[in-house]
């Protein structure tokens, strides 16, 4: 094992699970998430010298996010030419990205919807701020670096994400308790 590989294993790979979790939230399907993580790790390895003193976790998650944006742009370019088939796999995107906005989502009255699904229905900007804070436990500064926005924006996105999620979660849990006779 080369020295670079060893350093990569000790500094970056401990965050592999975080990268995988984040990818699962970003990518439309599990297999897309697998490809996304693999691509991100490869890019991270090739650009490992770029890590220098930076925090490895935030650095790796930034790469995952960039890979996702690139993949998304490529998909969109491809999608411009032919109309997608009815059973085209890209339909998966609609579930997450072009889904109903949070307001109308709450009208669906799906009592079985889990917290996870409610998060998936948040607008992507809100969702990633929430995930990075609550699940990956990044600080505001790190979230700002990963999502490439000012800290103030991180704070307001987090506040909105939490507000919307809480509202829908309460609606659902109240709905459940009403459903129980």
């Amino acid at each position: 094992m080369t020295d670079t590989r060893r350093r990569f294993e000790t500094q970056v790979l401990p965050h592999l699970n975080a990268a995988y979790r984040f990818a699962r939230w970003l990518a439309p399907s599990t297999s897309d998430a697998d490809d996304l993580v693999q691509e991100a790790i490869l890019r991270a390895y090739r650009g490992f010298d770029g890590l220098r003193g930076a925090d490895a976790k935030a650095w790796l998650l930034t790469i995952v996010r960039n890979c996702h944006s690139t993949a998304l742009r490529q998909e969109q370019r491809r999608a411009l030419v032919p109309l997608p088939d009815e059973n085209d796999e890209q339909d998966g995107y609609a579930l997450i990205d072009a889904g109903p906005d949070p307001e109308s989502a709450s009208m669906l009255r799906d009592d079985q919807r889990s917290l996870e699904e409610l998060i998936a229905r948040l607008p992507e900007d809100y969702r990633e701020a929430l995930i990075l804070r609550e699940i990956e436990d990044l600080g505001y500064r790190e979230i700002a670096a990963v999502t490439n926005v000012p800290i103030g924006t991180v704070m307001s996105r987090l506040a909105r994400a939490r507000g919307v999620l809480r509202k829908h979660w309460l609606q659902q849990t109240e709905g459940e308790s009403r459903a129980v006779p």
Binding site: R5, Y20, R24, Y45, R46, D49, Y140, A159
Partner: protein
């Protein structure tokens, strides 16, 4: 109507404010019903998220696939930088602190710590006393300000591999005031900070490899009590008397036993 302080309350909840602001916000939350509700809601949502979201881990097959891809990269990877490994770890520890900490003050404090902390070859007792002194002199006493063990403990989970016993013992006179990360014995140590009267007690914990811990000792007027629990080594450091310090250690040991039973 949204209280103009709501974003600050959120920042307080996320442990992103310094000690002085934290006190200010706590006072505000006591007075403002809306912010009290908000703070409660934030706590509740976090608890619900923790309870409902299953911790996802990378599937072994994907892990194996990635290893294979990295193996194939071996020949083309760039040569290792000339920088020695220990230095890179130190700068990394700095950035971890900077990224998670309290802003510029924390960065300045971390810089100070990095200059003052003795080389990792000095005995652990000296490292501990230096870390304790630095925490008192600089503003780097606390990274996460909270009197709530349920805030401090998960915070550690995101910042170090060490998961120490965290509990408030205010009725017994040891008030939990927060936690921080220090660099000890070549690794990130979790530090739980207590206040006992006018004294600060730092309880360091790190993954231990030694079968025998150092004996209790006194350096420069500071008492150090060492013990092990689970796979962790602990050391409590303070300028309190021996009895007071041992009192906290006893409480922590009892708590560890309780937690192990659960």
């Amino acid at each position: 109507m949204l209280c103009p302080e709501s974003l600050r309350v959120q920042a307080y909840f996320d442990a992103e404010v310094d000690v002085m602001s934290a006190l200010e916000i706590e006072r505000h939350v006591e007075r403002c019903a809306e912010c009290r509700t908000l703070h409660q809601a934030l706590k509740q949502l976090r608890a619900d998220l923790r309870r409902n979201l299953s911790p996802l881990e990378i599937p072994p097959a994907l892990r194996a696939r990635i290893d294979k891809v990295l193996d194939a990269e071996r020949d083309t990877s760039s040569p290792p930088p000339t920088q020695p490994e220990r230095l890179s770890w130190r700068t990394r520890a700095f950035w971890v602190g900077a990224g998670s900490g309290l802003g510029t003050a924390a960065i300045a404090a971390m810089l100070a710590v990095l200059w003052i902390v003795p080389s990792p070859t000095t005995p652990v007792a000296d490292q501990l006393v230096s870390a304790h002194l630095n925490s008192l002199l600089s503003t780097h006493l606390i990274d996460v300000v909270s009197t709530d063990q349920h805030t401090v403990k998960p915070w550690f989970a995101g910042h170090t591999d060490v998961s120490p016993v965290v509990a408030d013992f205010e009725p017994e006179g040891y008030k939990l005031i927060g936690g921080r990360i220090d660099y000890l014995e070549h690794q990130r140590a979790a530090v739980v900070v207590y206040r006992h009267g006018p004294h600060v007690i730092n309880v360091f914990s790190w993954a231990g490899e030694r079968s025998a811990v150092p004996g209790n000792t006194t350096r420069n007027g500071y008492h150090l009590v060492f013990w092990t629990s689970g796979n962790l080594e602990y050391c409590a450091v303070s300028d309190t008397g021996w009895d007071e310090l041992l009192g906290l250690v006893r409480l922590l040991k009892d708590r560890a036993i309780q937690e192990a039973r659960q």
